[in-house]
């Protein structure tokens, strides 16, 4: 998926320290879920500005997120017809209330905002920097092997596409031998799963060897964090919006 991959650039969001970006993401997510129309409008303006700066085409955004928008539409409809209040639309005996439409629109707005914030974050942040930030945030927590957790996150991000490719190859190889005609649901589940698991475990085994061959250990060079100098200002702004979300 191209929407959730890092794209190098020199925008404001790209230059921010990843730890600041993670904090801002958390604060804005809380503000979004907590706030009413005023803070939501503020957050929308901020996110729109960042999206423009990252040069994402609205059409691409909509195409890549069409399933998500379908889910949002279902949430909106469900809220509209299940919330009690003054009915304004009546179709086949199902009424959508004014209060339901308002609540549904607000909830949908929040969902879309959280998703867009996630996109801005992933588009402007290298996965290795996320790994470094996770390691930094976990360090003070006792009994948590932060280096290992960070490497696991990194490997997950790296190998997920590979596993999906392998799953697709297994599926195509079986379809080429008319497996799609198989009616037994248990066989339909097991036949592709067994070779995929075998391939995945073999790959994991080879990966472990390759990491060992490159002298992998928990005592690795620490990640570095690059600051743009804008971090205090951005954090202050996020705290302000969070405060507003609780007041307005």
């Amino acid at each position: 998926m191209t929407l959730f991959t890092y794209v190098p650039s020199t925008s404001l969001a790209h230059g921010l320290d990843v730890r600041c970006k993670l904090c801002c993401l958390s604060l804005m997510s809380i503000a979004t879920l907590q706030g009413g129309p005023v803070p939501l409008s503020l957050i929308t303006a901020m996110v729109a500005g960042l999206l423009i700066a990252t040069a994402i085409r609205p059409l691409t955004l909509f195409r890549e997120l069409k399933l998500f928008f379908l889910l949002v539409a279902m949430v909106f409809i469900s809220r509209s017809v299940t919330t009690g209040g003054e009915p304004i639309i009546n179709l086949w005996g199902i009424s959508a209330t004014k209060q339901g439409i308002v609540a549904g629109a607000l909830l949908s707005w929040k969902f879309v905002l959280v998703m867009l914030m996630g996109i801005v974050f992933t588009k402007t942040t290298k996965p290795s920097h996320v790994k470094g930030a996770v390691q930094w945030f976990l360090r003070p927590i006792p009994f948590v092997p932060e280096t290992r957790v960070a490497v696991m996150i990194s490997l997950f991000l790296r190998f997920m596409p590979l596993i999906l490719t392998q799953a697709s190859e297994v599926s195509q190889a079986q379809q080429a031998r008319c497996f799609h005609l198989e009616k037994n649901p248990v066989k339909r589940l097991l036949r592709p799963t067994v070779p995929l698991l075998k391939k995945t475990f073999q790959s994991a085994d080879q990966l472990a060897l390759a990491m060992e061959a490159r002298s992998y250990s928990d005592k690795r060079t620490d990640p570095v964090f690059i600051r743009s100098g804008q971090e205090p200002l951005i954090l202050a702004l996020c705290f302000l919006v969070l405060g507003l979300s609780f007041i307005v």
């Binding site: 890092y6 290298k126 996965p127 290795s128 990194s154 790296r158 590979l162 790959s203 002298s215 250990s217």
Partner: protein, 252 residues
Amino acid sequence: MRTLPLIEVNQLCHDYDGTGGGIQQISFRIFKGEFILVAGKNGSGKSTLFRHLNALLMPTTGDLLVHGRSIRKDPLAARKAVGLVFQDADTQIVGETVADDIAFGPENLGLARNKIQERVDLALDALGLSQLRERNPSSLSGGEKRRLAIAGVVAMDPEVIVLDEPFSNLDHPGTLDLIACIEKLHRTGHTIVLSTHDIEKVITLATRMIILDRGRLVADDLPQALLKHLEPFGVREPCASRLGMAVQPWAS
């Protein structure tokens, strides 16, 4: 006069399951600057031997010395001196970008960040990957992935680079690029140990050839001297040699 060997393999045996499989009684020495071509059919023990050179496997009996130190006593020294590139590039690339993957090895060695950056830049340049430094490895071609896997090892600054079947599943341009990179690494002072089924691709670069058969070392000589004795061991004689002509280099 020849210098001291970088690697000394003495009566090396590795028995996987107690049935005598693996490799048996292998002895040879590797000197600085050599380009050793290791040939043999599937299951002849090439990969098992290579994993000992990098201390991933320990000998059942016998020993392997890197700079005179046994890999049993100092496996980390062996891993620093010998870089091993596996056959399947996909399963050895661990970074989310090309530059991150190359940095993985130097980070494991605990180098300072500026030194790591320097090593990454050098490896990117050596393998012709500078333009791809921010690319996601999963979007690279087969040949680029193979070069990335080698760059990841080069960044650890090993003296010896061991390549296990580096040309498998590569198209012709990818193979030519890779041969050129390997030749460049050899020219810049690295000792190369490489296994392949299709020896024609690199035989003109090799300074020495070793043939393994059923886990045993059956020949160790100059490549030209072994050309006519390959086929009984399941290795195809280059076409030019069959026709009585000199084998031409693949890379200019």
